[in-house]
Amino acid sequence: MIRTEQLVKTYENGAIKALQGVDVAIAKGEFACIMGPSGSGKSTFLNMIGALDRPTSGRVWLNGHDLTNVPDLDRIRAREVGFVFQLHNLIPTLTAAENVEIPMFAVGRARAERQKRAAELLELVGLTHRANSIAVKLSGGERQRVSIARALANRPGVILADEPTGDLDSATGREIMKTLEQMRRESGATLIVVTHDLEVGERAGRWFRMRDGRMTEDAR
């Protein structure tokens, strides 16, 4: 469950208002899509609910944790959130399996456990045969699937994807979205996708539109 209450984020002593009082509640297991023009505050909102940043004012709850007051956001990110980035952000010198293991270091998983979980996840995203390939040798779609597997490594309650298909051709983008939805269904996690892609938006069960730091539409 994600809930925000009068969420405000400003920069440069209030000169830039990235979020201006956002109130949202997203239930566990929902697939929500956030759309809006560049600079509307989508990514800032994602950073707030993903425990990457703290609001200037207002409050954020993530799976029962009040992120405004939690001292250790790293711990929340490690256990509760899985990120999928537009540019996948894999570590180029590591193999697909090693990249999937990365978040598990943050929660202190033992090596054998990490390797087992990484193998499971790569199988889920259909990349068992590429487990030992280093990231730079993977195709764009494969990298994004590894990135999805990495996001699921610690069984997070929330998967946050920022333009996950933005760097892919449309066919690969559709495959990636199918994978993300399948992972959401199987894990029961909440999936929130920020996108410009209407086709992606149509797949979501809930649809937000942002403009000038405000939620202007909330449709199901």
Binding site: F85, L94, I102, V107
Partner: protein
């Protein structure tokens, strides 16, 4: 997993940093081993004399400048409990004769008087030939004999004399084995010392009286320094101090050069991996985890450089020993040397890694993820 792979990402840069550390450590190990070797030889030299006390001029900075007169020696001999005073002189001979004979740039000469205890120490079962008896005879240390290609019975021209090799000796002091023993008169004439000598080795009738005799000599012969023979190396402390200083200066230069190398490598690594560090932070890595990752990479460079430096240092010192005239350089490897090298390598690792690691750990995940 990450640490090694990250370092292998820029192999040449990592290798150069490792070499920077290794060269510094190698210099420390090699110079320390040679310095310690010199000190060990000096100690052995005096302990093997079996003298209890040593006498030399007071207030001389360099033992070679010491001049103990015949009169002073007589007054020492008059002190109750003194059995013998063996005269010793020193000279470093560098002459065309030596170079022509065995490509030896110089020969350390020890002046001794025939028949004295100090001379008899060379007859220790290792002596080939016999002890010298006359001014035109010479005893060669076995390393000097090898350098010069001489055997007992051969002749050797230098110091405007022709010496006959009476014998070839072997003692526990390496640089004594690389030198030669001549009649005191040879050095006394060459240096115009008259009948004075540099260092007197004092043998006592009763070892239990050492302290008392030492004090009696001090009182009886003003201007003379008297010390226990085993403590004479302490009088070379100024010279030995230079070696220590030299090693410490090398260490400092190593820390600066090696530390800057590691620092530069790690700063470049961090600046190239800002987005990657942002990703680590985004997936839950804490600041201490990122700090530890970067620190470990820098520290590993120093550890590898340190291990390589130890090996290079030993190899370098031994190559120097091999190619230097035999007996001139002697190495001693102690746990202290390796400990010092390990500490310097560790300091390099800490100095070179801590700041980049700290910088990496302070990166904001949001800013780092936006980094192009």
């Amino acid at each position: 997993m990450f640490v090694v792979k990250n370092l292998l990402r820029r192999r040449v840069r990592t290798a150069l940093s490792v070499m920077g550390v290794a060269i510094g450590i190698a210099a420390i190990v090699a110079f320390s081993a040679i310095g310690d070797g010199f000190q060990a030889s000096l100690s052995t030299y005096f302990s093997e004399s079996q003298a209890q006390l040593a006498i030399f001029s007071g207030n001389v900075a360099d033992m070679a400048m010491s001049r103990v007169t015949r009169e002073q020696k007589e007054r020492v001999l008059a002190v109750p409990g003194v059995l013998e005073v063996s005269e010793g002189t020193f000279y470093v001979a560098a002459s065309a004769g030596l170079r022509a004979t065995g490509s030896l740039p110089a020969l350390l000469l020890f002046g001794r008087a025939p028949g004295t205890r100090l001379m008899r120490k060379y007859d220790n079962g290792e002596l080939r030939g016999r002890l010298l008896m006359k001014e035109d005879e010479i005893l060669l240390g076995f390393l000097a004999a090898e350098n010069l290609g001489k055997e007992p019975g051969d002749t050797l021209d230098f110091l405007e004399r022709t010496f006959t090799v009476a014998g070839v000796y072997k003692t526990g002091a390496t640089w004594e084995n690389g030198g030669a023993v001549v009649h005191n008169a040879v050095i006394q004439k060459h240096l115009a010392m008259g009948d004075a000598f540099s260092l007197g080795f004092v043998y006592l009738k009763d070892l239990r009286q050492t302290e008392r005799v030492q004090n009696d000599i001090l009182n009886a012969v003003p201007g003379l320094s008297v010390t226990k023979a085993t403590e004479v190396p302490d009088y070379f402390s100024d010279q030995l101090q230079y070696i220590d200083w030299f090693v410490w200066i090398v260490s400092l230069v190593a820390v600066i050069i090696g530390g800057l190398g590691v620092l530069n490598t790690m700063l470049m690594n961090v600046s190239e991996r800002v987005r990657e560090i942002g990703t680590l932070r985004a997936v839950g890595w804490s600041r201490p985890m990122v700090l530890w990752l970067i620190f470990s990479e820098g520290f590993l460079i120093s550890v590898i450089g340190g291990v390589l430096g130890l090996a290079w240092g030993v190899a370098g010192a031994e190559i120097l020993v091999h190619f230097a005239p035999k007996g001139f350089i002697h190495t001693v490897y102690t746990a202290e040397i390796f400990g010092k090298a390990a500490v310097v390598a560790a300091v390099l690792g800490v100095v070179g890694s801590l700041y980049p690691a700290f910088r990496a750990s302070r990166l904001s995940p949001i800013e780092a993820l936006k980094y192009e």
